[in-house]
Symmetry: C2
Subunit: 121 residues, 2 copies
Amino acid sequence: MRYSRQGELIYRTVKKSKMHPDANLVYEQVKKIVPKISLGTVYRNLNYFTKNGLIRSIVDGSKTRYDGNLDPHYHLQCDICGVIKDIKAKDINLRFQLNDKYDFKASNIEFTIKGKCNKHK
Amino acid sequence: MRYSRQGELIYRTVKKSKMHPDANLVYEQVKKIVPKISLGTVYRNLNYFTKNGLIRSIVDGSKTRYDGNLDPHYHLQCDICGVIKDIKAKDINLRFQLNDKYDFKASNIEFTIKGKCNKHK
DNA sequence: ATTCATGCAAAGGGTTTGCAGGAAA
DNA sequence: TTTCCTGCAAACCCTTTGCATGAAT
C-alpha cells in the first residue's frame, strides 16, 4: 500500500494505544492532527493493517476493536465497563485434543475471559 | 413472558437446530409455518430467551448466532465456510491463574478455535 | 376487559463503497 | 503523468424500536 500521512497516523495510534480502541476512537484521535480525515479512510486503513497482520482485531459486541500488541496474548473483558485488558498467553495453560476426534485444523484461538475488573468489585 | 405460538416456534427451532442459526435463518424457518411472522418478533424472542438463559448466543463477525445447547462446550469455527461445531468442554484442559496477578473476577469464558473444517483440507 | 406480544415500517449503529479530486510515485 | 488513497456521502447489513392491532389471560 502506498504511503499516506493518514495511514501512518492511524497505524501509530493503534500501536501506541493500550485501550483497544474502536474505529471511531482512532478517528477522533487522528482528527486532532488531520481534522479533515474521514471515517471511511480510518476503516480502510484499519482493515488493511488487520488483513496484513500489522495489528489485530477484537470482536466487542456489535463492533470491532483494534490491538497493536502482536505478542501472544488473550483478553479479559469487563462486563460492566467494557474495558479490555491483555493477559499473557504464558499465564494460561491450554490443552486440547482435536485432530483425531474433531477433524478440524486449528489456526487461531480466540480466548476471552469475561467478568468484572478491579473497579467493580 | 406470555405464551405465543411464534415464541414457541422460535424457541423450538433454535433448540432443534445444530447449525447455530442466526436470526434470519430462524426467521426463514419459522416463516414456513407462520408466514406473516416478522423479523422484529424473531429478534425480540431470541433476545428474551438469551437473557433468560434458555439459549446461548454466539458472536460471528458482525452478527449474532444462537445455540440451543446449554451443556458446557466451546466452539470450532471454519474460516472458509463459517460453520460452527461444538467441542465438549471436557476435551479441553484449561488452566489459568488470574486473581492475584490480574485482579479480575472471571464469570464467563469465550473460547473459540478458528481454522479449517474437514471440507477444506 | 385488560394486558402484552405481534406485524409493520422506520430508525439506529457500525461498516462499506462509488465517485471525483488530490497526493504519492 | 499515472496511480491510487483520500474525503464525502450514500448505501449496506444487522438489529432495535414506536405504534396500532390482535391474541392471550
